[in-house]
Each structure stands twice: as C-alpha cells, then as structure tokens.
C-alpha cells in the first residue's frame, strides 16, 4: 500500500473513512441530540464529494483486479453528486420525530452502498464486480423496508431482496459458463478468448438478464413499480438514479471492453430490449395515478433510451450514455425532491392530489415542470440534448428504424408528462395542497438540480470533456 495506490483508491478510501467516522461519532452523541448527526453527515459527505474532484492519473491495482481511469473517476463523481443531492433532500424525512433513531444508519448505509458501487465501476475482474454489485444492492433492500410500521414498505423490502438475490444467482450462472469457456475471471484475460460460441452466448444472455434486472429493463422490470411505491421517497430516488446509474456505467464498460468481440450478437439482443423497454414503460406510465409508480415507469422508459446509447458501441455511445446519466441525475432528483417536499408537508403522493398546486406553491410547481419537460425532452432543457446524443449514437451505426421507434415513443411520453403539468397548472381543485415552506437543504438541492437541468444542456464543453475521457477508456 503506497501513496500511488492510495490516490487511485481515493474515492473508496474517503468514503470508508467518512462512513466509519460518522458511525463512531454517533456513539458519542446523546440520544436527545441525534438530529445534529444530519448536519455532521452532510458536511462530511460534502467534503468527500469535493475531494473526489481532485484529478489524478488512472492505473491498475491488485494484479489487475482494480482498474481506475479518468472516466471511472468521473462516473464516481456523478454518483457522489447524486448522493449528495439525495442526502440534502432527506433531511425533511429524517427530522420527523418518529424517524430520529434512523438518522445515522441512513447516512452510513447509503455511504457503504456507494463504496460498493465505486468498487463495481472500477472492477477489473468478475469477483470484485460481483462483490461490489451485492454490496450495492443488499443494503438497499433493508432501506426499502425502512418505514418499519408501514406494510407497503415491508412488502417492498422483501420483494427487492428476493428478486435481486434471484437475479444475481442467474447472473452468476452466466459468469460460471463464461469462466468455463475462457478459463479466467480477469477482464483482460477474458477479452481475447471471447468468441461467438454457443456456450459463451448462453453465458452472456444469463449475465445480461441479471444486469437487466438491476437496470429494470423490460422483461425484468416487474419489481420496479412495487418497490418504488413502497420504499421511502428518498430511497426510491436513490434506487432510480444512483443504483441505475452505477449499473449502467459498469454494464457499458463490460459490454464495450470485455464483450466487444461478440458485439454483433449483443447489439441485436439490445435492439429487442430497447424496443420492449421504451414501449412497455410508456404504456404503463400512461395509466398511473400514484406519482411514485408514475416516476418508476418513466424511469423504465428513460433506461430504454439509455440502452439506445449502448447500441452506438463506440466513443460516441459511451459519451452519450455518461452525459445522459449526468442530466438524468439532475432531472430525476428535481422531480423526486418536489415529490418528497410535498409528501412531507401534506402526505399527498397522487397526481390527482397535485391539482391546483401552482396556486399555492408556484416555485415547487415550476421546478417540477422543468424536470418533467426535461424528462419529456422539450428542446431548451438538458433532457433534449441528452436524448439527441443518444439518438445520434444509435444512428451513427445505422439503426435508423430503432431511432424512429424511439422518437415516436418520446412523443408519446410527452402526453403523460404533460398530464402532471396540466394537473398542477390548469386543473382546479377544492382542496389543493396547502402552502408550505420546504426545509433549506431541500431548497438548496432543488436549486442546484434546477440549474443543472438548464445549464448542462447548453454547456457543450461538458460533452466534449466526457468525449475526451471516453477516448481514454476505449
């Protein structure tokens, strides 16, 4: 363990120190002062996020088990920003009196989940990848059941743990078949031995099914809406933004590096997955009234668009996926922030309950409108540019029919995003959500993410920066 390896592992080491430090600090805080742990954790995690931005050279550690590059560092920074925004948003939930005993565990568990994700993104062999994936998914099931006295939350937790264990077993079966045909678990050793033999393709399909579950791609999406509805809102936000982001990042790295020799085969598998994911996500989102289920199906559709960038299979594809994920972090967290603020103030989480929101809470409605327009892909906002580059990546390989289908679906999706906007701005209601002021951390997070929605789309240097990183990785 020399200085070089400490610098390479800086995200993971910083997070470990922060998580263990917060856990120890909690021991010395008396019971009636536990609410101070919110401020302590927020300050510590802000420091971790800022220190993560320090640039450093990439490299390989532990005989190839851990590989780090500018691209993986940037991915980890995106995840850090997302988690910081979620931490800011969850202060309202945690400062309720019945949640006072949950404060420290909430922050510590999410930080450990983030460590798992960081190791997963930097994995150089399948063991680190698998252990990181499980570290990133198991504790979340506990957090989904965090509202212990709500039956919906208990149901969500047990559904998440059983289905994610099942999907990782399926994924491992695939990995064992790949091990059988290549004789190694290291990415660099597997790469030259991957050929389109039946055994490898079978193993790859098992592997993709397991990852598809984590990403909630359509044949494997059935857990999504139930877990999203039952879990506390900040955990829902974490599942839909950070978990999905990490899974997308490592899947695109593995597909573009380890499995690039069978890209002709997996592109056609993804072709089918893109069409089913976008279409079925759209169709189910049309009929939802619960806003969390609505956002769940909307996030399934967004993952479908994300897979469009995978079809690019070149630097442009990787760039567009990372760029879209950065925008998706800001966009979706704005939406979830507004949902959470309204739920904390008035226990409303249905679209019909949002009627007349503009009259009472104009700023929150504006933030929600920005987020929904960006998700729908209306031009001046960042969501449009994200989708545009994903479409460009797929079109650059000649998948024109797929791009047309996706563009049609993007138009359909406008209908249900605008339905929420209509409920907030146009519909009259006899008893709208009462006027309230959200907490200041919530306001900070909404301001940051709203600025992100507007700024990231216009700042072309961000896209060029990610493109230069992508060239370094591939």
């Amino acid at each position: 363990m020399n200085l070089h390896s400490i610098i390479l592992l800086r995200h993971e080491i910083l997070l470990t120190v922060a998580a263990v430090g917060v856990l120890f600090a909690d021991v010395f805080v008396p019971r009636e002062k536990k609410h101070n742990m919110i401020t302590v954790s927020l300050i510590v995690f802000t420091l971790v996020t800022l220190l993560g931005f320090i640039p450093a050279q990439g490299g390989v550690l532990f005989g190839g088990s851990y590989q780090s590059s500018h691209m993986t560092d940037f991915m980890k920074d995106i995840l850090n920003i997302a988690v910081l925004l979620i931490f800011l948003q969850s202060t309202g939930y945690l400062s309720k009196p019945e949640n006072s005993w949950k404060i420290t565990e909430f922050f510590v568990i999410l930080m450990f989940v983030l460590i798992g994700m960081d190791f997963m993104i930097s994995a150089g062999d399948f063991v680190i990848f698998y252990v990181g994936l499980e570290t990133a998914s198991l504790p979340l099931a506990g957090l989904a059941a965090y509202d212990r006295y709500k039956s919906k939350s208990a149901e969500a937790g047990v559904k998440l743990i059983l289905l994610s264990a099942m999907s990782s077993a399926v994924m491992l079966f695939g990995l064992s078949l790949i091990y059988a045909s290549t004789g190694s678990i290291y990415f660099s050793d597997i790469l030259p031995k991957i050929k389109a033999t039946p055994l490898i393709i079978l193993g790859f399909i098992f592997f993709l099914s397991g990852m598809g579950f984590k990403l909630s791609v359509v044949p494997f999406h059935l857990w999504t809406a139930d877990v999203y509805e039952g879990a506390p809102i900040n955990i829902t936000a974490f599942l839909s933004v950070v978990s999905k982001g990490a899974a997308a990042f490592i899947l695109i790295i593995i597909l573009f590096t380890v499995f690039k020799n069978i890209s002709r085969e997996w592109e056609w598998i993804l072709y089918a997955l893109v069409i089913t994911t976008i279409t079925i996500g759209n169709l189910f989102a049309l009929r939802q009234d619960n806003i969390k289920r609505f956002l769940a199906f909307s996030s399934i559709t967004q993952v479908g668009f994300l897979l469009l960038g995978f079809m690019g299979n070149n630097e442009l594809g990787l760039t567009s996926v990372v760029y879209f994920m950065l925008i998706y972090v800001f966009t979706n967290l704005t939406a979830f922030g507004v949902v959470e603020a309204i739920y904390n103030a008035s226990n409303v989480e249905t679209i019909s309950g949002y009627k007349g929101l503009y009259k009472t809470n104009p700023l929150l409605s504006l933030a929600m409108m920005l987020a929904l327009f960006s998700l729908g892909g209306i031009p001046p906002l960042a969501g449009f540019f994200g989708k545009f580059f994903l479409f460009t990546a797929a079109a650059s390989r000649g998948y024109y029919i797929l791009v047309v289908i996706a563009a049609l679906n993007a138009t359909i999706s406008l209908y249900y995003y605008l339905r929420v906007v209509k409920a907030m701005f146009i519909d009259k209601s006899d008893n709208p959500v009462a006027k309230f002021r959200s907490t200041w951390p919530m306001r900070i997070s909404l301001i940051i993410s709203s600025i992100g929605i507007i700024y990231v789309g216009f700042a072309s240097n961000i896209f060029e920066f990610i493109y230069s990183l992508a060239k370094g990785l591939l």
Partner: protein, 105 residues
C-alpha cells in the same frame, strides 16, 4: 480430477439443481421456501465454478475463490432476507407471497 466420474455427470446435477431453484422460486407459496430455492440456485453456481476449475483449469484457483465469495455473500443475503421476511410476518401475520398484493399494476 475425480477418478472415473466425467465432468458431464456433475454438470447435469448442477444444472438440475439450478433449474429446480428457478422452478421453486416461481411456484412456491412461502417466502422461506423461496429463499431456500435461491440458495439452491447459488449452490448450483458454486458447484459449477468448482467443477470447471477442477476439471478444466486445474493449475489456477480462480474458480475456487469465486465459489468462496459466492458462499460468503449468500450467507449475508440469507441473513438479511430472513430479517425482512420476519418484518413481513409482523405486519401481515402470514408469509404467503400471493397475498402480498397491496401494490399492484
């Protein structure tokens, strides 16, 4: 290499174990039985790794180590899953997945 037992014999056992687990996961009416099915699937995977390592690549130990990690993670998974099933039992007074349908469509 185990004397007199070809690799296919063991692979047939592990594949049957895996798909028994998949079947059990789908049709059993009890959350604990579903957890057992998952364990069956994971054990089939461990067996696969060990057999491939022993028969095909006996000079390295990568498959053995992967198997060890899978066993370790599976133990953590089982502990957490049982805690969550207990939580469901306290809320609903049963552990029948068919009746856990408060949220649907």
């Amino acid at each position: 290499m185990i004397q007199g037992i070809p690799i296919t014999h063991i692979l047939v056992v592990s594949v049957i174990m895996f798909f028994t687990g998949v079947m059990g996961f789908i049709i059993r009416q009890n959350l604990i039985a579903i957890l057992l099915s998952i364990e069956l699937m994971l054990n089939a995977v461990v067996m696969n790794f060990l057999v491939f390592n022993r028969y095909l690549f006996p000079h390295h130990l990568q498959g053995h180590f992967f198997g060890l990690f899978v066993i370790g993670v599976a133990a953590a998974e089982a502990a957490l899953a049982i805690a969550l099933i207990l939580n469901v039992y306290r809320r609903f007074k049963h552990i029948d997945p068919d009746k856990l349908n408060e949220m649907k469509y």
